[in-house]
Each structure stands twice: as C-alpha cells, then as structure tokens.
C-alpha cells in the first residue's frame, strides 16, 4: 500500500524537456537500484478524466511491495495529472515533497515559478530545485559553454526561498544511457555527473 512507503517524492517542472524523467530515474538509481523504460509508437489520446482514472489506478492498485522511496515522475505543466496525483496521494499520505527541475534559461525559470505557486496552493512541501543542463564541456577543447545560460536555478531558489539541490551538466553519456535504458550511475559511477546525482540524492533528505 502506498501509505506504507517511507518517502514519496514528486518530480515536477513547469517546462517540458528540462530533464524531469532523467532526474527522476537517476534519483531513483542513486537512492537504490533498478529502473526500466519502455515505449510504443502509438499515441495515447486521452482527455483529462481518463488520465485521472489511470493515475488513480497507478497509485492505488500497483503492488509495490515494501518501498523506502517512491519517486513520481510527472508531465510538464499544472493540469489534470498534477491535480490528480496530489489529490489522490493526499487520501493516503502526504508526499514528502516535490523536487523541481529546471534548466538555467529564463524561459524555463518562468514555467517553474508557476510550478512553485502550484505547490504552495496545494500545500506540497518543496524539497528543492535542481538545475539541469547546466554547462557543456566541449570534447575537443574542454572549454565550457553555458548553452542554456547559467545560474538560473540557483537564483530561482534564492528568490523563492527554497533549497538549491545542485547543478547537473549536459552530459552526452547520460543522454545515451537514458535512450538505451542503461543504469548510468552504476556504469559511470566515477564521472562528475554521477557524483553530482549522488550528492543531489544526499542533499534531498538532509536539512
């Protein structure tokens, strides 16, 4: 039962493609080990109510066994899926909180500010913000370029008075592992990126 899970963490972001699923998966891997990713080519064309029913079923009917951590990955935005997850979870237990994912761009920060408002209105504790895609080191000259700007996540954390959990650089290897369903943290545990995820997971539950 979901009420027996020790920690429930939501991974949220107002914007798409900032790395919610990547962060959710790597966070899960850093906390334990496991994880799988599957997909098909046919579109799921559902309107809100049907998606809400599916979410309810996921939360009530999946037999997780004994869990220490349940990481809930969400789509971008502040709509049906988010309202449903929060409402449904609250019947059983409050989530520990939400991890917000952003890129450093102003465009993304704007969407995440709206997500913070969503959390505050829904009484969801914000565990902190992760700045993903923060800098890219050129494999030819080792020069670091901030493709999507820099520092946006940290200044958002300051502005909204929430914890800054850390920065994850753009890492080609991480992207490839995500594409191929490979356990990045295990296979590249000595990499800078894996270590950042490790400290991010540690930061999450340390005051």
């Amino acid at each position: 039962m979901i009420s027996d899970v020790k920690h429930v963490v939501l991974v949220l972001s107002g914007k798409g493609g900032v790395g919610k699923s990547t962060v959710a998966v790597q966070l899960a891997l850093a906390l334990t080990h496991g994880g799988n990713y599957k997909g098909k080519d046919s579109a799921v064309i559902w309107r809100g109510p049907k998606k809400n029913a599916m979410i309810r079923q996921f939360l009530t009917d999946v037999n997780w066994g004994e869990l220490d951590y349940l990481i809930v990955d969400t789509p971008p935005g502040t709509s049906d899926e988010h309202i449903s997850v929060v409402e449904c979870l609250k019947e059983f237990r409050n989530p520990d909180g939400a991890v917000l994912v952003t890129t450093p761009q102003a465009l993304s920060i704007g969407d995440v500010r709206r997500e913070i408002t969503f959390c505050r209105k829904g009484n969801i504790n914000i565990l902190g913000v992760v700045e993903n895609m923060s800098g890219y080191v050129c494999p030819h000259c080792s020069d670091c370029t901030n493709i999507f700007s820099t520092g946006g996540g940290e200044s958002l954390a300051k502005y909204a008075n929430i914890k800054f959990l850390g920065r994850i650089p753009i890492d080609t290897q991480l992207g490839e592992c995500t594409d191929d369903g490979i356990d990045f943290i295990h296979n590249f545990k000595n990499s800078e990126t894996a270590q950042r995820f490790d400290s991010l997971a540690k930061n999450l539950f340390n005051e």
């Binding site: 579109a43 502040t78 370029t145 594409d179």
Partner: protein
C-alpha cells in the same frame, strides 16, 4: 474532490457521461452534455467564419517537451514577418506554460477587449501575438486547470481574437496529445485554411519515439503533417569552432520518418545564441542575420512558404 471513476469510458466515447462507471463522477454533466464531443458545436462554424481572413493556419506540435516548439514558433513567426507585405499572427495555446510572451518580448502586456473581440498584442506592425500569459496578473501566477476549462479558453482564443487579415497564423501548442490538441482539431475542423502541422523534435531516439506518437495522433485525427524540424542538431563550440553531438542522433529513427513520407523541413544547430535570443526576445533576423544558424532557419522558412503556397493552389 473530483475523483473520476475507475472505468471512465473517456470523453470522446459515445458512452461519455452515460456509462455505468459515470454514475457519481463530477464530470458526468459536461460529458453527457456532448460539449466535449466532436458533434455539431455552433462555435465550430463561428470559428471557421472568424478565421476566414487567414490564408494559412499552421500548428506547431511535439510529443516531447522542451524540444523547441516555442522557439520554432517564434522564429517562424518572426521569419514570416520579415516580409513586410504580409501579416503574421502567433497564437500560444500552451495554457499552463505560456512561453511566447517572453520569446516575443511582450511579457506583462494586457489584452484589451473591443467590439470586434480581444485585440492581440502587436510585436511589430505586421506581427501580433495572443497568449494565455497575457491573462495572468503576475509571473508567479499558475494556471491550475483541468481539461474542460482549458478547452473553453482555447475556444475563446480561436473565436474571439480580432486578428484582422492574416497571411499566416502560427499556433504554438503544449507538448503531448491531449486536451489542447483534441480541442484545436475539433474547433478548427471546418477551417479549410488549416494547412497542417509542423512537428519539432531533437535528434535522439527518446524524442523521435514521441514524434512517431505525434504522427500517429495526426493520422488518427486527420491532420496533415507538413514536415519535421530537427532542433538542437549539433553543437558548434564558440571557442574552437568544432562540432560535437550532444543529443546522439537516431539515424534509424529519422530514416523511419522519411520512409513514411514525412518531409524533413530542416535542421537547426544547437546554438547558445538561439537560447539567449528567446530569453531576451531578440529578433535574430534583424540582429544575427549572418549566423549559420539563422541561415539554416531561413531555409526552413523559405521551404515552408513554398509548401504552403503549393497547398493553397491545389
């Protein structure tokens, strides 16, 4: 508390609001009213009449978020508007994450209502914009709405904005294949000037997987796919000027699309200048016209204009 039933038949179903599972569902009323069905809604004809003065309506979609829909929509609108003899409108139907006000430099503007409808915000003489972002009172305001409420605002955006005469109406959408997309399709279904969809993707398999879903969606709802724009293709280091691949391209994935007859409209390199231009609402066709990235985009725009004109003459 709104708790949908476990065996919800889905709102498009003929049983919507009428199935056994619907008893006690808070959405039962709206589902059984038929408002969400694709059935005859008087607004559909009204929208077609309202948008009759638009030559080409083009939707920009992607299955995955953050691949550059708003970037491509904004660049396309700005590119089209470089021809001062045409009028361009840009409609943002991403209700929960409106990005267009920022990319076009019109954040914080307020929409005014006149006798003939909502006046769009003018970026320049021949480029106007409408977005849900203009209806929010602060940058921290969140739109926490379920589907039916989002549909209502989309309907209003289509029926009530006073665009005047437009050569192009570019419609930016949120990621996915859900309420907003279904609403657009059903509300625009009598618009013979709806030319089709541009699908934006990044090169890697995880994004192309979503493109295939999006194409399946278009096929199922009868939308023409104009082509695919691949964004964030390769990174050109500003220091050593050498290229590197950040998002590993799925050659098989792209070939599959081409085999299906989906044209590749072009590729946009991963260039920090583009991200900066979006954050700071810079008109790149004015300020960065010598950049390779902009040349690449101009080729896409040029190609698209040709495709649209050919469709118009068919």
């Amino acid at each position: 508390m709104e708790v949908p039933p476990e065996h919800c038949p889905g709102v498009e179903s003929a049983d919507a609001g009428k199935a056994d599972a619907c008893a006690g569902c808070p959405n039962r009323g709206i589902c059984s009213s038929g408002d969400l069905q694709t059935g005859p809604d008087p607004k559909v004809a009204e929208i077609a009449a309202k948008l009759m003065n638009v030559k080409h309506i083009v939707l920009v979609m992607s299955g995955k978020g953050g691949v550059g829909k708003s970037t491509v929509s904004s660049l396309l609108a700005r590119y089209l508007a470089t021809d001062k003899t045409v009028n361009v409108g840009l409609l943002d139907v991403d209700i929960c994450g409106p990005s267009i006000p920022k990319t076009m430099g019109v954040e914080g503007e307020e929409v005014h209502q006149s006798m003939s409808g909502w006046s769009p915000i003018y970026v320049s003489d021949n480029l106007s914009v409408m977005s849900c972002g203009f209806l929010l009172s602060s940058a921290d305001d969140a739109v926490i709405w379920r589907g039916p409420k989002k549909n209502t605002i989309i309907k209003q955006f289509l029926a009530d904005v006073d665009w005047d005469r437009l050569d192009y109406l570019v419609v930016d959408t949120p990621p996915g294949t859900s309420d907003e997309h279904l609403s657009l399709v059903s509300y625009l279904k009598q618009c013979s000037n709806l030319r089709g969809v541009i699908i934006v993707t990044t090169p890697q398999e995880i994004a192309l997987m979503d493109v295939r879903k999006q194409i399946d969606f278009c096929r199922r709802v009868g939308l023409n796919v104009l082509g695919v724009v691949e964004n964030m293709t390769a990174f050109l280091c500003p220091n050593c000027h050498k290229e590197s691949t950040i998002f590993k391209p799925s050659v098989d994935g792209m070939n599959q699309l081409l085999e299906k007859g989906i044209p590749l409209l072009g590729r946009i390199p991963l260039d920090p200048m583009i991200g900066k231009a979006c954050d700071e609402a810079i008109d790149v066709f004015e300020n960065n016209k010598d950049s390779k990235t902009i040349t690449a985009f101009e080729a896409i725009g040029h190609h698209l204009v040709k495709v649209l004109n050919d469709l118009n003459h068919e």
